[in-house]
């Protein structure tokens, strides 16, 4: 075999070098995935090597091999998958009405009287001006308060402001980023290893928690808007009359009696304001009382309160929050104790001072537009401390956990908008392991079948094709690791299928060489012709398959995306291995050895 690599053309050497590079790339990027999760390796705690893995092997792996790994999908790992929809629309509307209310307060001081603010579905905001000639002065106040609106026309007394589309888009994007950050913050504090949180589409957020099984708790923890605010309870309408007013509004708007959601109550309040039954600066909110019943809790009654329409003190001014046991009034219960920062403390002081002077001397603690409690205030509270009681929704143990979770979400900040779960998937832990086992076993068997089959039909050439096919699988895994792509169960099916079809390229080439041999060519000539003439066919076949894979990629469903990525990478890798790699080996065989094929 001496000199068996001499006199091969330069191009062969180039292709051979490329093949070796591909092999190197494949091995380097695939290996780390099999060495386990670096986060679980024991680490040196002290000294100059602090943070380095203890084991020499782990240290070697970390310093030499790339750090990216193949992510296992939830169906292989077990855990929770939650898809949240962020109500950006309501959030924008809230922002607009808050800005309007501030502008009206300021305008009021300048003697500009306004009434009846309305925000339409397309965010066009209208307000009634008592004196239309003061429109410029009022517009100045509005544009000072929000950059989302631009002054429009005045028709009669109605002054309309039109939204700026680009700025609203920007604002919505900001809300979503903020929501993702808040959710990430909460999950980090919750302590889940390797959570996966990302945006999907314009208003959705995917949260994947591998290994986690407590679906209800996760939903509570992430989906809790935790918008906390404090408002003064107003005495303009006696509390006993509120139930009657609400009933009136329910009949007028045909809202069912059992719908006590904040959205419904908001609608009822709006009607009451329009009918001038309650002051324009006030709104009605409900305290909803629950009682534990079996697995779930049951709503046992509601108490309406008339409170200020806009909150002056909100939860973002909190300094800290923690779950505590309280025995106030000799009733042992769990509370969340909150401490305000300097600014919040001052506002809280102002609020309690005002409330203590005005009947009914109560402030409302409002969580997500529901009144949590409405304690009486007998004098100014200046320490900047407040508590939220947990109610009798559940057993003491669950209460303690709920209090901890609430304290956690209050600490990590409110979500900028309400979120709703639109899709939830839970995969049991043993199911994930079972799926991996099934995937590995079936890929292994499929690989063996294909290898034996190719050997049987094509002999040495079949062996060459098999080597290429295995390199192909290695490359797919390496690419997936390099991109940090997620391997799912359908993805494994994709790999099995790719293995089976990857040899197709070699089948085409080998059939072609056979034909060339039959046509009277020598083994050598047949080899070169076979490769030359099948290139076009291979490219056509792969591009058309790639069209299908590309469409799958655009389809956007995360479960399908994993499969599409596998397929797409597989197509590129197949074209490379089944054509170039087999050519490199085959050319050497045909030029430098006496192995004769297809004769």
């Amino acid at each position: 075999m001496k000199g068996s690599f001499t006199n091969l053309p330069i191009l062969w050497w180039v292709k051979a070098a490329l093949t070796l590079l591909a092999l190197l790339f494949g091995v380097l990027f695939t290996l780390p995935t099999f060495f386990g999760d670096p986060a679980t390796w024991p680490r040196v705690e002290e000294g100059p090597d602090k943070g380095q893995p203890v084991g020499a092997f782990h240290r070697f792996v970390e310093s030499t091999l790339p750090s990216s790994r193949i992510n296992l999908g939830l169906d292989l790992k077990g855990g929770l998958h939650l898809l949240f929809e962020v109500d950006v629309e309501q959030s924008v509307k809230d922002s607009l009405s808050r800005a309007m209310s501030r502008a009206r307060d300021l305008a009021d001081k300048d003697g500009i009287k306004t009434s009846d603010v309305k925000v339409a579905a397309d965010y066009t905001t209208t307000v009634v001006l008592a004196d239309p000639s003061k429109k410029e002065a009022f517009a100045k106040h509005v544009t000072d308060q929000t950059y989302l609106l631009a002054a429009g026309d005045v028709t009669g007394n109605v002054f309309s402001f039109s939204p700026s589309r680009t700025r609203i888009d920007e604002y919505e994007a900001q809300i979503l980023t903020q929501a993702i950050n808040t959710i990430r913050n909460r999950i980090d504090q919750f302590g889940v290893a390797e959570p996966n949180i990302f945006q999907q589409g314009a208003s959705r957020i995917v949260v994947q928690l591998p290994g986690s099984q407590d679906l209800e708790r996760a939903k509570q923890l992430i989906g809790n808007t935790a918008q906390l605010d404090f408002r003064m309870v107003l005495g303009d309408v006696p509390q006993v009359e509120l139930d009657g007013l609400l009933k009136e509004a329910r009949t007028a708007l045909s809202v069912p009696e059992d719908d006590t959601t904040p959205a419904a109550v908001r609608k009822l309040s709006e009607w009451l304001r329009e009918q001038k039954k309650i002051p324009t600066t006030a709104t009605v909110m409900l305290q909803r009382n629950f009682e534990k019943e079996g697995v779930t809790s049951k709503l046992v009654g509601t108490v309406p309160y008339l409170v200020e329409a806009q909150a002056k003190l909100t939860g973002d001014l909190l300094d800290s929050a923690s779950a505590e046991q309280s025995a106030e009034n000799f009733i042992p219960q769990t509370v969340v104790a909150m401490n305000f920062g300097p600014q919040g403390g001052k506002l809280f002081g102002d609020l309690t001072t005002e409330a203590s002077k005005k009947a009914p001397n109560q402030i409302a603690i409002i969580l997500d537009d529901n009144i949590n409690s409405a304690p009486s205030v007998n004098g100014p509270i200046l320490g900047g401390k407040a508590t939220i009681t947990m109610g009798r929704r559940s057993s003491p143990e669950v209460q303690a956990q709920e209090a901890q979770d609430l304290a956690l979400v209050l600490r990590s900040g409110a979500l900028p908008a309400a979120v709703k779960v639109v899709e939830e998937r839970q995969v049991g832990p043993s199911e994930g392991a079972e799926n991996i086992r099934k995937g590995v076993v079936s890929s292994g068997i499929a690989a063996v079948i294909v290898v034996v089959f190719m050997l049987f039909v094509y002999g040495v050439s079949g062996m060459v094709a098999n080597v290429a096919m295995l390199l192909n699988v290695l490359l797919i895994l390496a690419f997936m690791a390099a991109f940090g792509a997620t391997l799912t169960l359908p993805g494994i099916a994709g790999i099995v299928l790719t293995m089976a079809v990857a040899v197709d390229g070699n089948v085409i080439i080998n059939e072609r060489i056979r034909e060339e041999v039959r046509a009277g060519n020598t083994s050598k000539v047949a080899f070169y012709k076979g490769y030359n003439h099948s290139f076009g066919t291979l490219v056509d076949a792969h591009i058309t398959s790639a069209v299908a894979a590309f469409v799958l990629l655009l389809y956007g469903n995360p479960a399908v995306k994993g499969f599409a990525v596998t397929l797409m990478v597989g197509i590129v890798a197949t074209l490379f291995t089944s054509y170039y790699v087999t050519e490199v080996i085959g050319q050497w065989l045909v030029e430098k050895t006496r192995i004769r094929r297809f004769m």
Binding site: I445, D504, E511
Partner: protein, 345 residues
Amino acid sequence: MKFRFGNVEFFPPHWSFDFMKFKKISIGISVLLSVLSLVIIATKGVNYSIDFLGGAEIALSVKKQGVGRDDLEKVAEDAGVGDVEVTTYGNLGTSADSEFLMRLQHEKDKPDAETAKRVEILVAKVKATLGAENVEVKSVANISGKIGAEEERKGYLALLLACVGILIYIGFRFDPRFAPGAVLCLAHDVLIALGFMTLMGRPFSTASIAAFLTIVGYSINDTVIVYDRIRETQLIHPRQDITTTINNSISQTMNRTVLTASTGLFGLLVLVLLGGGAIEDFALTMLVGILVGTYSSIYVAAPLTIVMEGWLRKMGWEPKDPSLKAKALKDPNFIPPVVLKKRKG
């Protein structure tokens, strides 16, 4: 069939079979199967999974012997959580009825979150009745109706997009005679595979969209190989009539067709038998798709090319003189790879 280890040929050299002789029968079979699939889909309805319908799905593994579908239906009834549909799944390989899917639909006019509560009650009831140690909850999913409708729309759009993309590529790379055959072939394959899955009562999920798009990819791959050979044969024998060209081309690629289809089918068969659960449905869809796809490349795409050629010629279309194209494409030393035998008669 030449049988020598390492050099197996399923079909002898220069083998040529008059495939197109049976084109009337084959088109009949294809039409029959397509119509049958349409009838099945229309009467039985595609068994959409909650991915598209919205609702909740619980996958259970029951370890207790002798618990059947009826028992679980009874438990569901006792739980009083409304309609629950119970099916067995993933049992082709093991033929044991131990894995069940329980499906709940969203109740009208109630928020989707209510369904989550019903799921909780149902799971608690099943565990209480059969014993918690006998029941393993493998997965739970709860999808809102809004998402489902979106997925459905996007899924069909994806299938359509793939077909249009392929139509454009084939029309551009080959010539107009070939494109309709290729696309009709795709529609034929997807329709029959869908008909089969519906007949078997298998759920149609987002994974099925992936399976169908893969069928589209495989089927077109197979068709392109045959088309490629037809085009090449036309360059070598421009005067030969198209039926002979097609017969020879199919015959010459038959070795490859059988080999690739077998490796693909073997791989999928392994997945069907060992994959279980969702993979079983996925692999079964593809298995049917590959079988039909292989058949349709020969008996749907090729005859349609003949039909299209006839129509286009009647409309005054002439293929560009292939010999000119041949000169431009091939080097002067080009030797035809196969010496074709003249057909007798």
